[in-house]
Amino acid sequence: MKPSDVANPDYFHKVVDCQWACPAHTPVPQYIRLIAAGRYGDAYLVNWRSNVFPGILGRVCDRPCEPACRRGRIDEEPVAICRLKRVAADFKEDIRDRLPVAPPQNNGKRIACIGGGPASLTVARDLAVAGYQVTVFDNAKSAGGMMRSQIPKFRLPEAVIDEEVDYILKLGVELKNDHWVNSLKDVLAESWDAIFVGTGAPRGRDADVPGRLEAASHIHVGIEWLASVAFGHVKSIAPRVIVLGGGNTAMDCCRTAKRLGGIDVKVVVRSGFEEMKASPWEKEDALHEGIEIHNFLVPKAFLHNGGKLSAVSFEKVRAEYDAKGRRNLVPTGEPDVVMECDEVLVAIGQENSFPWIERDIGIEFDKWGMPVLDATTLQSTQPRVFFGGDSALGPKNIITAVAQGHDAAISIDLFCQGKDVARRPAPMVTLVSQKMGIHEWSYDNQVSEEDRHRVPMRPLELALKDLRTELELGFDPKLAYQEAERCLNCDVETVFIGKNCIECDACVDICPTECITFTANGEEDDLRGRLKAPSRNIDQDLYVSEALKTSRVMVKDEDVCLHCGMCAERCPTGAWDMQRFLLETAQVTGSAA
């Protein structure tokens, strides 16, 4: 293999699994260390720069970081990254005077953001601090989008949304609320320098089976029903409820139903339990609240008596996989299952919908009805119009919407300066030695052997009484410290300087997870088979040095490195060093002013 190109920021970035997995590339270990040090405000600001909504995401993020966490590969469970983020938001001091402000003189460029959800608000924040005049249009009373309308308050209190939306509006962003945009053509005709579309995926998919129309008054589309609950239009539900669907919306529906009077609440899913789209922790929360989940059942008909829903019948299926590994749900031939109920919530997916975008204004749509976009710049075929969030590349999650908001803001900034939007600014990268003494490091290199700590919860009998009572209490500072200490500090990189190495094997001998091998070079497959410990996780890189004095190479399997620094402590010549890698993604610089 060729020597690893560690000068390319991607190499060390990839080692920081959580940051690499985060769509917004939040420097996770950096803020976790700040939390451990009790510097909650600083930890909040590290988050705020990257993901804009730390308090919100600390409660409801889809947390792609956690499945990626290295700790999960060597311990039973990953670090509770998401809930540590909440700790930063919960315990921070007043940080308002530390937030950036818009320059006194704006740059004369006017930007319209359509939709007031996380993507639009991110665009607004990034551009406002750079001197742009940003106007956000939203049809609701206040901004927040689906964070406000779809996520139940027992998971995300209103006050948290208000606080973090407010930080953005205070930057001088204009909010046109209760404003329905019904023609993009009209907006284009106005004198906006650029237009950002962040209108989400507003249409819930419906269950098209017999009885749907007749029993319509007892059957609701999940996201619409959740919005009605959020805005106080719906205050109760019948005792027996069936939720169709296995995603996170289905979990929100069933748990909300449980709090609005649902006594017998069931979730019925086509797929098996493991393949359900809902995050494992959301399924766990639903089960914890006494909700049954039934799998491998496909809805066949809504049974009713003259329009009054009485039951749903289901066909039993099993999963079969073809040669290409594609799943087919095949009827088992067993008798149908009939479940009695009074109301049904349909949460089987969300779709995009752009009835308000005219098809003759230069914006091309693909055969699925999605706008044709450049995946990086998020620019549409009408150069002045950019997309982000669920409305751009299909429904994902909040953190993806934020990441796309940052990207779109950069594109808009470049576009407004007349620059090539494809030439993206590079991230800011620092790599600094953490050595302070022979065995002193400026990070806590002792590896905690504690198991993941559970977030304290309110007793269920209290939590289920009221829709607005937050179930989770969050970590207290002591638990937060203990959980923060579980972080392996993957951003403190093991940097190898081959010319210093005397090949004494000290690092090989000390490494607790047997990551390091000195051997003859070879092709990757061959090398992986010859390392001191088996190297089967091919998603994780091998760190290969240049040829050493004996013509061998140093090969480090990044997979389960604990970043304990023992290799560097044991190295007599400083060939290993522990260096903190900090990558901050590029954001709008404001050079247009």
Binding site: I502, D505, P512
Partner: protein, 351 residues
């Protein structure tokens, strides 16, 4: 030097041996030697060898004297018996222990000071007697604990860290062991575990006095230009005789080497030492040949490593003394000491 103990977290696919132990189970306390010390590599090689051989840690007794090398038994086999003896007196303590309990595996760890200076007399006699043991000398040519004076194994003409030349002739412990009757004699290098681990395994399985001299660079006092025991010097002057594979009795023997290049030696316990020859015409069953080969290369400043000599049918001290098969420490006082009546009877027979 590290304050912190190794984290207990294990990689999920950590290999276990036939006893269900991981390599980590054969480790000891965290080393307090200098970073990069060759001795730590030897400790790691001992760990690997015991892991590979599925040795039960409580069946091993590790004994040592004084010095950097003699500290190392604290850093491996933490669950084994240990005895840190007086300087240079490990061989007699080991001999006593081996006589009392012939069932344990004896591992003597010593250094060039402990064995070639203060303890050279003890070294000579333990080899002569053929005590069933593995005797490892971690040989760095200097007194590391007292700031790097030349030891008795330092080569004549080699230079100290401050540039002073050694004028004394060296003691070659391998030559001594060969001459004194050790029945498994090897030399290796701490920087070459591929060679060292099998040599330790072979020694642990050997019945009789097994001696391994391991050149182990002292990074602090003897790893400079002018040293003949530095990493660089040893790598440049290493004359490897053979590569050893140790095959356990239960392992199927599959030959995948060109004929003539491999010789196989069966030991008492049924294990097989498979040697891949690297030096032409070298036979490791010729004691006199080994001695002259060694001398000839030493004259040229070369360091001969590998398995120099083995007598697979060797006998040990217990055989020489015709002791009972049962360990003496389990016999009980009545059988070990028949009493004054028996003594009187014996004395009467001699009058």
């Amino acid at each position: 030097m590290t304050y912190l103990a190794k984290p207990k977290l294990l990689r999920p696919d950590t290999p276990v041996n036939a006893l269900g132990y991981t390599r980590r189970d054969y480790e000891g306390a965290i080393s307090t030697l200098c970073a990069g010390c060759g001795h730590d590599s030897i400790s790691a090689a001992v760990v690997q060898a015991c892991f590979d051989l599925d040795i039960q840690p409580h069946r091993v007794a590790k004994l040592s004297g004084i010095g950097c090398s003699s500290k190392t038994p604290d850093y491996f086999l933490g669950a084994s018996h240990g005895f840190n003896s007086v300087h240079g007196r490990m061989p007699s303590v080991l001999t006593g222990a081996a006589l009392a309990n012939r069932d344990l595996i004896y591992l003597g760890i010593s250094g060039d000071g402990d064995s070639a200076s203060i303890g050279i007399g003890q070294f000579a006699h333990v080899m002569r007697r053929g005590v069933n043991m593995t005797y490892i000398v971690e040989n760095n040519g200097v007194y590391g604990l007292t700031k790097g004076q030349f030891s008795a194994t330092a080569d004549k003409g080699s230079k100290s860290k401050r540039g002073v030349e050694n004028t004394d002739s060296p003691v070659d412990l391998v030559a001594l062991a060969l001459q004194l009757g050790a029945t498994y004699v090897a030399r290796s290098f701490s920087g070459d575990k591929a060679q060292l681990v099998p040599l330790i395994k072979g020694a642990l399985l050997h019945r009789g006095a097994a001696f391994i001299d391991v050149i182990s660079p002292c990074v602090t006092f003897n790893n400079h230009a002018g040293s003949t025991k530095s990493y660089d010097y040893v790598r440049e002057h290493n004359e490897v005789l053979n590569r050893l594979d140790v095959l356990m009795p239960r392992q199927a023997i599959t030959a995948d080497y060109p004929p003539g290049s491999v010789s196989e030696i069966r030991q008492h316990d049924g294990s097989t030492l498979r040697l891949r020859k690297l030096a032409e015409d070298y036979e490791p069953n010729d004691r006199v040949g080994a001695m002259s080969h060694l001398q000839a290369h030493a004259e040229r400043g070369e360091i001969v490593t590998g398995l120099l000599y083995v007598d697979p049918q060797a006998s040990d001290l217990h055989e020489h003394l015709n002791t009972v098969a049962q360990p003496l420490n389990t016999l009980g006082a009545d059988r070990l000491c028949p009493g004054s009546a028996a003594l009187d009877k014996l004395n009467a027979a001699l009058r």
